[in-house]
């Protein structure tokens, strides 16, 4: 009896808390600016334990001493960090699809996204889509049985503090770089995945199937841990253009693979790129890094980057365990006035470590597309091997493609292979396709998809099909 009452009260409190939380979110926006008080309020809003607050504050103090980096090949007006509101409260949402830009809706249609998902994608203020909630619940039950944890990082901080404490910031420490420090201080939400020893996660995990996935906001924080011999494949993002009014995005993603574990992380990034004149658009400054902590572990990054006005992103692998493997497969498309500076770092620490880099950059319009990669072979990394292939494709005469491969070798047994090409979509290729009945846009899409094939093949099936269509749409109007 007493127990029952207790449960009821707990339920009630929880409910109220939840409801209150959401109402607050809708109404309350923190005043712009960043200071210790704001961070404390943010942490309190999320009901975080003290250790988390202290962790954030420590990161904030580090950030204050850092300077925004400007070595990337991108140019933008200075960001005023005091003008940003650091509480990721959703801004005013459209009440119905009628209020959403028809251009966005047209894209959903072309991508073949089912109608019932449009509202969710466009950020329409509906109470979540019931279909996917029930699907998500079913999946979560199945995962739970296997001991897999898949939840938001906020929930993980509440429910699995020991795991979070043990791993958070171990791959990307707060002092890693300016944006990582900022993220550590003010991260809004993100995903948490934990796959226990010997468990192979039976499905692709995507934010799509996570309840509460919406509104992870501009400072996303994701932590994925695969214990010994575990396997997990995680999908981030969505091919549909995401509406977001926050201009600055600074995410941090940390992956940890123990002995024999494999983590595959696939991204399709299609944040708002700005208009055809280069106005608006997201600044996407991301730190993604994976640690192959154990022997025979493997981390594989695959990304298709088509969105954002500015992308600054280098998903990397630290190959610490002997025989560990790091992979980076990337397609980055820029059009109009977009700028992308993206690539990877492969840090070989252990013996017999291997890495593969395949990067395909496509520049159209007046855009600038840069590949920047570092392969570092440390002193004890006997017989490390790397294969890098960086191909660029130009569409038109006003865009630029740049390649900056950096190589540092501190062990003479290393084997390195590097290939790079730059090509232009030829008028002859387009004409050839035209004579076979393909219009110019179809021809460009076909040629570009062919160019990116090796990377697209690495994506999970259903993602790959969407990604192909996405490339087509991203390059719309880029030729004649």
């Amino acid at each position: 009896m007493a127990q029952e009452v207790h449960n009821d009260i707990e339920q009630l409190v929880k409910k109220e808390y939840t409801a209150g939380f959401y109402t607050n979110v809708e109404q309350e926006v923190f005043p712009p600016g960043i200071n210790e008080d704001i961070i404390a309020r943010l942490s309190a809003k999320k009901g975080e334990p003290e250790w988390m607050l202290n962790w954030r504050l420590k990161a904030f103090r580090i950030w204050q001493k850092m300077k925004e980096p400007h070595w990337a090949n991108v140019h933008y007006d200075p960001i005023d960090y005091e003008a940003i509101s650091y509480y990721a409260a959703p801004k005013k949402r459209p009440k119905s699809l009628d209020e959403v830009d028809p251009e966005i809706l047209r894209t959903y249609e072309r991508l073949g996204i089912p109608l019932h998902e449009w509202e969710k994608l466009a950020g329409v203020a509906v109470d979540a889509v019931f279909d996917s909630v029930s699907v998500a619940t079913t999946f979560q039950k199945q995962l739970e049985k296997m001991g897999i944890i898949f939840c938001s990082i906020s929930e993980a901080i509440q429910n699995y503090p020991e795991l979070v404490k043990k791993y958070l910031g171990t791959v990307v420490p707060p002092n890693d770089n300016f944006f990582a420090a900022l993220n550590s201080a003010v991260f809004s939400d993100g995903s948490f995945v934990y796959v226990p020893k010997g468990v192979k996660c039976p499905m692709e995990l995507s934010t799509y199937f996570r309840i509460n996935a919406r509104g992870t906001g501009q400072f996303e924080r994701t932590l994925i841990i695969a214990e010994e011999d575990a396997y997990v494949s995680y999908l981030e993002g969505c091919t549909a253009p995401m509406r977001d009014e926050n201009q600055l995005h600074a995410a941090v993603v940390e992956l940890i693979a123990l002995d024999g574990a494999t983590i595959r992380y696939s991204t399709v990034q299609n944040w708002y790129p700005g208009d055809k004149e280069g106005k608006g658009g997201i600044y996407n400054f991301v730190t993604k890094r994976g640690l192959c902590a154990g022997e025979n572990s493997k981390i594989s990054w695959t990304q298709v980057e088509t969105g954002s006005a500015i992308t600054w992103k280098y998903p990397s692998c630290i190959l610490k365990g002997d025989n560990s493997v790091g992979e980076f497969y990337s397609v980055a498309v820029t059009n109009n006035f977009q700028q992308a500076d993206t690539g990877t770092k492969m840090i070989h620490v252990g013996r017999n470590t291997r890495s593969t880099i395949i990067s395909k950059g496509i520049a159209a319009g007046k855009s600038q597309n840069t590949y920047r990669g570092l392969v570092k072979i440390m002193r004890n990394a006997e017989y490390a091997r790397n294969f890098s292939q960086c191909d660029s494709m130009l569409i038109g005469n006003e865009c630029g493609a740049h390649t900056f491969p950096y190589i540092e070798i501190h062990n003479p047994t290393a084997q390195m292979e590097h290939e790079a090409t730059t090509s232009k979509i030829g008028e002859d290729q387009i004409f050839y396709c035209n004579t076979r009945g393909l219009d110019t846009e179809e021809a460009v899409a076909l040629i570009v998809n062919g160019f990116c094939k090796e990377v697209l093949q690495k994506l999970p099936m259903e993602f790959a099909v969407e990604a192909q269509k996405l490339l087509e749409i991203s390059l719309e109007g880029s030729v004649g």
Partner: protein
Amino acid sequence: MNNFFFRINDLHAEVEGKKILKGVNLDLPKGEVHAIMGPNGSGKSTLAQVIAGRESYEVTEGEILLEGENILELSPEERAYKGLFLAFQYPVEIPGVSTLYFLKTALNSIRKANGLDEVDTYEFMALAREKVKEVGLDEDFLKRPVNWGFSGGEKKRAEIFQLLILQPKLAILDETDSGLDIDALRIVAKAVESMRSKERSFLVITHYQRILNYIKPDRVHVMVDGVIAKSGGFDLALELEEKGYGWIEKELTFAGGRDL
């Protein structure tokens, strides 16, 4: 409205300010095979590309009529929808795009434009397997990227394979014979012959008479310096083989009919 199938009237075209076609006239009735011969650089490929709609060649005068309609206003893909096909002298490589996928997309675009149902992957596979054998290529070619790393001869066969799949009304073959050994030439010619019908016309562009022994033309035209300088029957091809092109060029100058 006239009854001609394909007709070129006084066609002038230039590229980068250089005049290449200088008043081409041609009449190709339905169901016939015509050959266009001529020395290198006389403008044969230019004519083929202008017919197919290449924009980098500027048409300054004249018209090209397909079933009475001036196709100069149409984009290359619209011309393909009307049943035009060009087998390229230099087929273009498209890395990463499988021949099978490319051709299925092509066929379905053309079918769709003509109000026909699209062919599904299984039907298409069956069709492609059958046709690829007719040009003496291995089935593996279907999986390989379009013309990517093909030898010269393989590229030419692959063009004819595309022709077999797309079944156009008017096919232009631009020097499909060059670079083929005699066996390959026979295979290609046989495939083309199998397509010959009352409903289909061919324009076979060649430098040599050799292929015309296998694909017997109804008429032979000789192109010299951007015009059709002479037309005749199959005999003309034999005469050219024997005497070369010099005498026609001389005849032209002598006639004084135009500026050279």
